[in-house]
C-alpha cells in the first residue's frame, strides 16, 4: 500500500512508466522459486541486481531490464526521487534490439495457481477505522489510512451450494482463516485452524450474517468480528456477494508492525470481482505455495 501511495503516486514516475516501459507487478516469492521459463527469466534479472544463492532469500526491489533480460537498473529504495533517477539512467543505458519472446512451455503448477472454471473471485479490502496515534509524517499517514486488497476464491462446488442458498462450511472457514486478517500494513499472519474459536454465520434468504471469534493461544492477536451482507443470483450464477466484516482487532504480525497499541476497529469488505481490475487476477495471499491447502479446508 505504501508504494501505491508514495512512489506510484508521483506524476513523473507514472508518466515515464506509461510512456517508456512495459510495467509488471509481481509477488517475487513465486517467480524466484518457479521451475519454468518465467522463473528462469526472473532469476536471471534478479541475480544481476540482488545476487543470492538461495531461492528462499527475498529478491524484492524495482528492476529495469531489456527484453533479453539484461539488467539496466535496480533499487530497493522507493523514494520517488531515487526512482526517477533510476528510470532516467536505465533508459540511457538501453539500446533497443530485436529479441524473441520467452519460450514458455510447461508452467510450474505450484506457482501458477488457477481458480477452476465455475469458481468465483471476490475482492477483499480492509481498513483500520481508528486507534492510531496521530501520524508523524506522510508515510505513517499512508499506512494508517491504507485500504488493503486481496482476493477470496470460491470453488465451483461452493458456488453451486450458494446458488442453492446453502453456505458451505469450507467457505466460512476459508474466510475466517485467510481473510479476516489485518493486512493493511503488509503481509499478515493467517489464522491457524486452532485459532478459530467460534464461527456462527448463516445465510438466510440472501442475507449473510453472523459472528466469528479468532485468537492466538497466547491471546496476543485476536479478532472478534460481526459479518453482514447480501448475496444474489440469477440463472447463470452468483451476481452479488457484498459482505462487510467489522470488529475489534488486537495485535500485529512480524510483517505488519505498527498496529495501534490498544484494540482497534478493523473493517473488511467483500465484493464480487468482475474482472475489470488487473488485481482480480492475483491469487489469494493465503494460497501462496499451497493452493489446495487454501481451497480444500475441511
Amino acid at each position: 500500500m505504501i508504494d501505491r501511495a508514495s512512489t506510484f503516486a508521483d506524476s513523473e514516475v507514472l508518466k515515464s512508466l506509461r510512456q517508456n516501459f512495459v510495467p509488471v507487478a509481481l509477488d517475487q516469492a513465486y517467480q524466484r522459486r518457479q521451475e519454468d521459463a518465467e522463473g528462469d527469466f526472473y532469476r536471471r534479472i534478479a541475480q544481476q541486481g540482488r545476487p543470492t544463492s538461495s531461492r528462499n532469500a527475498t529478491t524484492q526491489g524495482l528492476y529495469v531490464a531489456a527484453p533479453d533480460g539484461t539488467l539496466l537498473g535496480f533499487t530497493n529504495n522507493r523514494s520517488p526521487d531515487r526512482i526517477r533517477r533510476m528510470l532516467t539512467e536505465a533508459l540511457g543505458r538501453y539500446q533497443p534490439a530485436s529479441t524473441g519472446r520467452i519460450e514458455t512451455g510447461r508452467r510450474d503448477p505450484r506457482y501458477n495457481p488457477q481458480l477452476p472454471a465455475g469458481g468465483l473471485v471476490v475482492r477483499v479490502q480492509a481498513r483500520v477505522l481508528d486507534g492510531y496515534d496521530p501520524p508523524r509524517n506522510a508515510m505513517e499517514d499512508a499506512f494508517q489510512t491504507a485500504l488493503s486488497r486481496d482476493n477470496l476464491w470460491i470453488s465451483p462446488s461452493e458456488h453451486q451450494q450458494l446458488l442453492q442458498q446453502r453456505l458451505p462450511d469450507s467457505l466460512v472457514r476459508r474466510i475466517a482463516r485467510f481473510h479476516l486478517v489485518d493486512n493493511t500494513r503488509g503481509e499478515p499472519p493467517m489464522w491457524k485452524a486452532t485459532e478459530v474459536q467460534s464461527v456462527d454465520v448463516a445465510l438466510d434468504d440472501g442475507v449473510l450474517a453472523g459472528r466469528v471469534q479468532l485468537a492466538t493461544a497466547d491471546g496476543e492477536r485476536a479478532y472478534d468480528v460481526w459479518l453482514r451482507g447480501h448475496l444474489e443470483h440469477d440463472q447463470t450464477g452468483i451476481t452479488r456477494f457484498d459482505v462487510v466484516a467489522r470488529g475489534t482487532f488486537r495485535g500485529e504480525g512480524r510483517y505488519t508492525r505498527g498496529a495501534p497499541k490498544k484494540p482497534f476497529p478493523l473493517a473488511i469488505s467483500f465484493t464480487l470481482a468482475d474482472g475489470s481490475d488487473i488485481a482480480d487476477e492475483i491469487p489469494p495471499q493465503g494460497s501462496r505455495g499451497w493452493v489446495q491447502g487454501y481451497i480444500d479446508l475441511r
Partner: protein
C-alpha cells in the same frame, strides 16, 4: 439455511477478548461497504500494469521497450 457453529476447546476468548464487537446494522453495512472500495482514480491505476512476466516480456520485445519490474514480498497490487 445452514448454520455453522464451531467451538474450539480453547477457552481463551472470554479472557482475551478486546472491547466487545457490535453487530452490524443494515445501514452500517451499506456505509462501510461503499467506503471500503478502491478509488477508481488512484494514480497508480493510470499505469497499465501486467501481472505476468511472460506477457510483459513478449510486449517489451515487440515494442522494443524495457521492462519495469515491481517485485515485492506479497503482491504489490495486493497486500503490500
Amino acid at each position: 439455511m445452514i448454520r455453522t457453529a464451531i467451538l474450539s476447546s480453547i477457552a481463551l476468548l472470554a479472557s482475551s477478548a478486546a472491547a466487545p464487537a457490535q453487530q452490524l446494522t443494515e445501514r452500517e453495512f451499506q456505509s462501510l461497504h461503499a467506503e471500503l472500495q478502491q478509488p477508481e482514480d488512484a494514480a497508480w491505476r493510470s499505469v497499465p500494469w501486467k501481472v505476468s512476466l511472460v506477457e510483459a516480456q513478449a510486449e517489451a520485445a515487440e515494442q522494443l521497450k524495457p521492462l519495469f519490474i515491481w517485485a515485492m514480498d506479497g503482491h504489490p497490487l495486493g497486500c503490500t
